[in-house]
């Protein structure tokens, strides 16, 4: 499916919706979006290709379809994962594919750094939970795929009805998301004077000739 909700913009204080659980540690970005789909000059068509090979591998298996193919998860916006999610290649195509499929927030035990930064740059918060909490969250989500969950980004908490689970989100990204400043471009352009000063003090930018 393709996302019907708008892409993230402005302040991101909470994300609500249904969930999709993709279990397993060390799920790399080649699995999230295989390299052949990187042959493109825009990200527009990536949504349907998310987890393409994993989905094809499980199609028709007795063990069941990949969660991204199950009817009950179509329209899900909260992705629930385990450890070191998004490791490997730096390809932003991975979070772009997830976002275009419909994902607006990822909760997991841990994330690879480049993937985490790529998500933040798109306004997709990645929040962490400890191992036992994550397993409890995944179990609760799988028990009732129609149930609506809500990630409170500002408070780093996941809620579903009366239940809630504590999450972890560093102060920096939390503030950037809350203030709508997760897209760094504007901030980086605001300091041109300091940038010029940096250029002037780096010897390799002046041919090592400064005295």
């Amino acid at each position: 499916m393709s996302s019907s909700t708008p892409f993230p913009s402005g302040s991101i204080s909470s994300v609500s919706g249904t969930t999709v659980v993709v279990r397993g540690d060390d799920i790399d970005t080649d699995r999230i979006i295989p390299a052949r789909f990187l042959k493109c000059v825009t990200f527009d068509a990536l949504g349907p290709a998310a987890f393409a090979d994993d989905r094809a591998e499980l199609a028709g298996r007795a063990s069941g379809q990949h969660p991204f193919d199950r009817p009950e998860h179509q329209g899900a916006s909260i992705l629930l994962v385990n450890r070191n999610f998004g490791c490997g290649s730096s390809r932003e195509h991975a979070p772009q594919a997830l976002m275009r499929w419909g994902i607006r927030v990822v909760v997991g035990e841990s994330f690879a750094e480049i993937f985490y930064g790529n998500c933040l740059a798109l306004g997709i918060p990645c929040l962490m939970a400890d191992h036992d909490t994550m397993l409890a969250i995944q179990q609760a989500a799988e028990a009732d795929p129609a149930r609506s969950f809500s990630v409170d980004v500002a408070e780093a908490t996941l809620r579903a009805g009366e239940q809630s689970w504590p999450l972890d989100l560093q102060q920096g990204p939390r503030q950037m998301l809350a203030t709508g400043q997760w897209d760094a471009t504007g901030q980086l352009l605001a300091n041109d004077e300091a940038l010029v000063a940096t250029v002037q003090r780096l010897p390799y930018l002046s041919g090592f000739t400064a005295t």
Binding site: L189, R201, G207
Partner: protein, 478 residues
């Protein structure tokens, strides 16, 4: 700023601290640091959307002279005649050419004599230098840390940010020193060392860290070996890895096209020499290894951390950390390897020598030393892909191309090739490859069920000759 301030004192601490301090532009409202990027490398896969984003925002390239482009991921390694047979690949290269022309960015294109894998050409052109910050939309940018640079991969939104502002919003990493005593045995290479490190510390072990590689065994490595080592820091979860610059670094750089020359050379060496981590630098963590105890190392599973010595057996579940058992079970199924079985003797179908990890001249020489006077086993597809046009020319000048062809290997044109299979080079079906590349992820080499065994180029050559995984030391001593 007054002239007297231009040569600011280098701060104390680790090389990482010093380079970080030198490149800090400002503290950003969200808590991140704005870090100046000294060298920005781009290629055809992760840049088109960045240039489009720049245009959407009405921005231009802030320092076009600090961005350098080449084409590597999508180029065919058989015929590189334009237009490419694959219209999508052709469109990507044409887009890169148009973007570079529009913004005044140097592109080292096909046939220029300088084209190649981005992490091969920047060092060999002397673009990568100690003390720089280096960024590229490719996770193996960690390679450039071999020079004592702080180098890391970025996503496309960040490529756009570097184009727009020559800087990035970054958080500072912790530093783990990986101290390696002793000396690598004959037949054991930097690739084996780094696979051993990742096997020991895990693929998540480096998350949040920069890896400083130091100690007698590291001092003894050539620059090309140091590049192999730092290249795979990211496979251990460390976004960057580095080696302190020393005489080996300076000797490598001297005379290269974009390295300082004349009186600037001496100034540069003086500055570079001060960048190394201080003797009293404090590391957040330290791990020690003994190089002499490391065997040729090979992966058996689906992450670069699932590695073993060539003389070992595929670990059983009982031998596996409980946390890692689900992944091990997935790997047994996918790889169709039996727990407890020796890895040596595993039949292979395809043998690939190349990539940003092991596509440099010394890698090809090491493989050639094994292939010389021997022949690829029947039914094995074996091919050698030089990392750059310069590597190809240097190898051909010493006759390595002929040596490989006589031994039954194909000799190809430079590119990323079957490392990630964004070009015609790929595995078919359940084929299993012996590969000198960096990732053995499921589907990585272009077939959703294809299998990859990572190893050194010499070990790949040994696998090609014997048609099965073999201890290269037995061939080197034969």
């Amino acid at each position: 700023m007054a002239d007297s301030d231009r040569r600011i004192a280098v701060s104390s601490g680790t090389l990482y601290d010093k380079v970080w301090d030198l490149h800090q532009v400002a503290q950003l409202p969200g808590g991140a640091t704005q870090l100046f990027i000294g060298l920005h490398l781009i290629h055809e896969v992760t840049s088109p959307q960045a240039f489009a984003g720049l245009k959407d925002l009405g921005l231009t390239v802030r320092h076009p002279e600090r961005t350098v482009a080449t084409v590597d991921h999508i180029v065919p390694t058989t015929s590189q005649l334009r237009p490419f047979a694959d219209p999508l690949a052709e469109e990507m290269l044409a887009t890169l050419e148009a973007n570079c022309a529009e913004h005044g960015i140097t592109l080292h294109g096909l046939g220029s004599g300088r084209q190649g894998i981005v992490h091969v050409i920047a060092p060999e052109l002397g673009l990568t230098q100690p003390g720089m910050t280096v960024a590229c939309g490719d996770s193996h940018t960690s390679t450039h840390g071999a020079f004592g640079a702080i180098a890391f991969g970025i996503g496309t939104s960040q490529v756009r940010d570097v184009l727009a502002s020559q800087s990035l919003a970054m958080g500072k990493l912790k530093v783990r020193r990986i101290w390696v005593d002793g000396k690598l045995q004959s037949g054991v290479y930097a690739k084996d060392l780094v696979l051993h490190v990742i096997r020991t510390l895990g693929v998540k072990g480096g998350v949040g860290y920069a890896y400083e590689f130091a100690g007698p065994a590291i001092d003894a490595l050539s620059m090309e070996e140091r590049m192999t080592l730092c290249n795979m820091a990211i496979e251990g979860g460390a976004r960057c890895g580095y080696v302190n610059p020393d005489q080996v670094t300076f000797d490598y750089l001297k005379g290269r096209p974009f390295a300082p020359s004349g009186s600037a050379w001496d100034e540069a060496v003086a500055w570079w020499s001060n960048l190394a981590s201080c003797a009293d630098a404090v590391f957040d963590h330290e791990v020690r290894f003994d190089a002499a105890s490391i065997a040729p190392t090979i992966t058996w599973g689906i992450t670069p951390g699932q590695g073993i010595g060539v003389d070992e057996t595929v670990p059983t579940l009982e031998q596996t950390d409980p946390d890692e058992r689900p992944l091990a079970e997935e790997a047994y199924r996918y790889m169709d390897l039996q727990p407890g079985a020796p890895i040596a003797g595993t039949p292979v179908d395809v043998c690939f020598i190349g990539s940003c990890t092991n596509g440099r001249l010394s890698d090809l020489q090491a493989a050639a030393a094994v292939a010389k006077g021997r022949h690829v086993a029947p039914g094995i597809k074996a091919f050698v892909v030089p990392g750059s046009e310069q590597v190809a020319a240097a190898a051909e000048a010493e006759g390595l191309d002929k040596l490989f062809v006589e031994a039954g290997f194909e000799w190809r044109e430079p590119g990323c090739s079957m490392c990630l299979a964004m070009n015609p080079d790929r595995l078919e079906g359940r084929q299993i490859s012996a590969s000198s590349s960096n990732r053995n992820f499921k589907g990585r080499q272009g077939s959703a069920s294809g299998r990859t065994l990572l190893m050194s180029p010499a070990m790949v050559a040994a696998a090609a000759i014997n048609g099965r995984v073999s201890d290269v030391r037995t061939l080197l001593n034969a």
